[in-house]
Amino acid sequence: MDKAKSMMDKKGASGPFHVNNGQSQRGFHGHVVVAANGSCCSGNNAFGSSTGPNSSSTFENMHHLHRGEDAECNGSPAKRCRLRRRTESVRRNRPPFPWFGMDIGGTLVKLVYFEPVDITAEEEQEEVENLKSIRRYLTSNVAYGKTGVRDVHLELRNLTMCGRTGNLHFIRFPTQAMPRFIQMGRDKNFSSLHTTLCATGGGAYKFENDFRTMADLELLKLDELDCLIHGLLFVDRVGFNGHPECYYFQNPSDTQSCVKKPCTLDNPFPMLLVNIGSGVSILAVYSETNYKRVTGTSLGGGTFLGLCCLLTGCETFEEALEMASKGDSTNVDKLVKDIYGGDYERFGLQGSAVASSFGHMMSKDKRDSISKEDLARATLVTITNNIGSIARMCAVNEKIERVVFVGNFLRINTVSTKLLAYAMDFWSKGQLRALFLEHEGYFGAVGALMELLKTTEDP
């Protein structure tokens, strides 16, 4: 099968976890992006709404847009205004715009961008074109190239940070697109803005040298777990546009009456923080600065998607979840009742409990007749249950009752969130409560942004 072609047919739905190399390259040579209206897109819609088959990489696009202006900026008036702006910012103990926080993970890059909305006329006038165009570009689009997405529904509006009011935007793109991103930074002459690029996640280390040599940019590298905790606590504090950031599931053990309920994280400590990205890290957090990494597992979001791709031929996280939502894992997994005919009473195990994940697949007949949807579902359930099981054990070992699950694995993934909520509740006999946060995977990036604001605040 011609994969590149098939992806085109899917309306450019190359998702955040998956990039097709050939496809990306083609995409970067397209033409102008249709500016979206900025309306709230949620779930799957976000991935296909603005990028048509012929849409271009906006990174590339920006390069074209601003080439001329770059030349203008070399003139001395522009230099002067930039200098004045910086001085002013430093005087007010504020870093100069643009304000970015970046979290470069194994699969996804998460970018938060603070868009100031309280720009005075004077500022507006002094703002270099370069900076202005970044702002316009980011805020007027919801998709960037084939694979970049702005999660409009997560935008935090009218937020005050460091004395400025603005909107916080949440953008993600696959880590595979990093080279293009860095190239854009170079083409844009981003280094001339003299902003500090705060980055966390493994990619901050991996790509540090590329940023330096290709784009003349120095990264301020930050620890991903520090950022995660700072970002999480900040977003929880400011709330989600007047609503709580945090939620849980009421009646998790009953599929009929299980409902999502908002809540607050007042008195958040101690909490067990389970961050499910490509892999999983589990932290015991005792205060904003006192925490330890308890353990981690390599069976995470990357495993779910990786196995799904191999088993079903799917290509994106969205696709994998879509299939999983239609499947039935009991055709794949062996249950206790498949072995014992009912409950295994000697050990108090319910007949409906999974005895062996993929256990039915030992039989060739069953392998030959299984559907992709069932396989996707079983993969999702297996990974999710395993994370739940390890998290629960850690919570018991660390004597912590509140378990907070974050990370992009949980994005548009109610199957997993409900399953985790159920697993925590059931196996702990109601002792443990699973909590979730609306901004799932963005806390590291938010934490990085906060670090930017902090570094300049303490001279």
């Binding site: 976890f17 990357g302 994940s357 030992m362």
Partner: protein, 783 residues
Amino acid sequence: MAECVRVDSSTSTHTMDKSITLPPDEIFRNLENAKRFAIDIGGSLTKLAYYSTVQHKVAKVRSFEHNTKEAASDKLYEISVQEEVTARLHFIKFENAYIETCLDFIKDHLVNTETKVIKATGGGAHKFKELIERKLGLKVDKEDEMTCLIKGCNFVLRNIPHEAFVYAKHADSEFRFQTTHPDIFPYLLVNIGSGVSIVKVESEDKFERIGGSSIGGGTFWGLGALLTKTKRFDELLQLASKGQHTSVDMLVKDIYGGSYGSLGLTGDLIASSFGKSATADKEFSKEDMAKSLLHMISNDIGQLACLYAKLHNLSRVYFGGFFIRGHPVTMHTITYSINFFTKGEVQALFLRHEGYLGAIGAFLKGAEEDNPNQYSWGENYAGSSGLMSVSPDMNPMQRARSGTFDMLEMDRLERQLVNLPLLQDPSSYIPDTVDLTEDALAREYWLYCFEEALDGVVKRAVASQPDIPEATERAEKFRQKYRHKLQTLRHQPFAYGSLTVRSLLDTREHCLNEFNFPDPYSKIKQRENDVALKYYQKAVKSLEELSWEQRQFALVRGVLAGNVFDWGAKAVSDVLESDPEFGFEEAKRQLEERPWLVDSYDQWLERLKGPPHKCALFFVDNSGVDIILGVMPFVRELLSRGTEVVLASNSGPALNDVTNGELQILTERIAAMDPVIQAGLREDRLTLVQSGSSSPCLDLSRLDKVLAMVVRERQTDLVIIEGMGRAIHTNYYAMLSCESLKMAVIKNSWLADRLGGKLFSVVFKYEVPAGKPSQDSAALTPS
């Protein structure tokens, strides 16, 4: 989940030719006398257990009536060979494909059994229930799988030394056997069947499933089959052993470019299993995917096991189930995972007889009325196949074995065995001085040495039964069997636990017994005892003429010279064969002059100047000159000093070592000549006990319960161990909580060389445990 895989017809695809013929003598031994059966049918293997009585010959000694006028017969005692019936447990493991053939065979040979029921366990028990009932005419009685597993596990841990081992892929010896802790509880058993069950075992009857996981062997198999289109579990493991997981897994360095230093996560660590298969539009090799899957599952199980071990504060974690079952690949990945997650605090332990646990447990459930747990049992090396490695690359012999039968036999020991109460730390006591599993040079030498000595042993065996014509044939069978064992051990030194000189000797004894040579040296012992007795009085008299200090030295030299008479040592047996007149005085001349190779005689002498010991426990060695002219005068001196003496000798024959039966007669005879010995016996200050062993070596953690009791009652404060087998091959480094004296003459030039000495070098090792300084003797010097 714990259950073995229930097999769908499609998974057990490798059906065998049903018309196979079994080599019955080799496999279902003693079926005629079998009673009580149990069967454990797993996903691909069936394990059959039965109990039988074995008739075999034993040598008995009986004293002549010496007060009658039969002085003409200069024989001291008569030797008779009697039939004895002992109990044995048989366990046989074979592929499910053979089950029908095997059942037919059993039915045909089953004559004496009154059994009506067969205990069954395992996932396949249900499937074959009807077949078993029809073929054997026995009612199948199902037992809970986990209960059987735990019962079996307790049984092997208690009865088989070196049952548990640590697996170290890259070490000199892959298998590092553990000494069984005297208290086997509590422990964690992680059973990896199609799912995983984690069971905490606190006592014989108290265990609890504290957790588990659905990601287990079934996940590896099922998911692996989907990913690689490979049907069989073994093939999947083989694929995995050839793969590179780094092309499929996302490593820390793939994300960080290197390590994640602040968390101490190295770059090679897997950050996301299968993380790369989601991002690249490319094909992955079957091998790589299988490897990645194996790591994923092993790591996950290891992590859970560690979390549970930590929560329940347990440090002994045994792994079993079909996922493990002797597969080096999975043992390695599980070990790696446990080391990683506990930073070495918990060791992953595996069991040599892991595959038999269910069958053993089911059998024990059925045999509860016989109370098998009140006895001690010993692995019969002659009748057991030993641990096999299943990696095809590791050993070509292996391939030939798959599809054949694997056996374990355990003999019921007449006596219950316990620790010597005087061991300083029973949990760290290791009887053997050199582990030949780890020491390749020593292994090569000793295997060669035992092979060289084989002709002599065969000759001796034939000579011991001069009136039985078919003895030659049996001796030849013995030769073949033992030689085969030696060959197996050359390739798989780990087959029966740690390979040691002791295990080589014991294996030889087991093989001799197997072919009804219960005591090849009985006649030699008899003759030598006779001769030595004649010199006893003279020897005692000449000792009494010496000054106190001279006498102490002469007594020690006497024990050492006596110890030269050892048919187990080739250097000596060659001399003894060619020169029957080789005597005590010649032996004394052969001895090394002081200072000896190991020489703490001065400290011993100083000690003797102090107060007498309360009670000495003396582990004796050879018959003849050794016991009569060496040991007895020494014992006599101890008694005269006011020290009680407990003489511990073997329960059964081994080489020319004096047995308890023989020693009783000898002691009576000596008592008749020597008032000191007589008084000792009469006043109960000289006691004879049996060691519980039939080995030329000595395992102080498996001694007769009565011995342990006597030692405790008499407040024993001195342990004397004599001879190369007991004091050098074993116990050389044994730490006791009281004073100890280890005396031996090195009668093997290779060993002498290793220890820095030469042939007939002397080891005289007197030790006082730390914190118990030897007596200040100045004020107490006897006149």
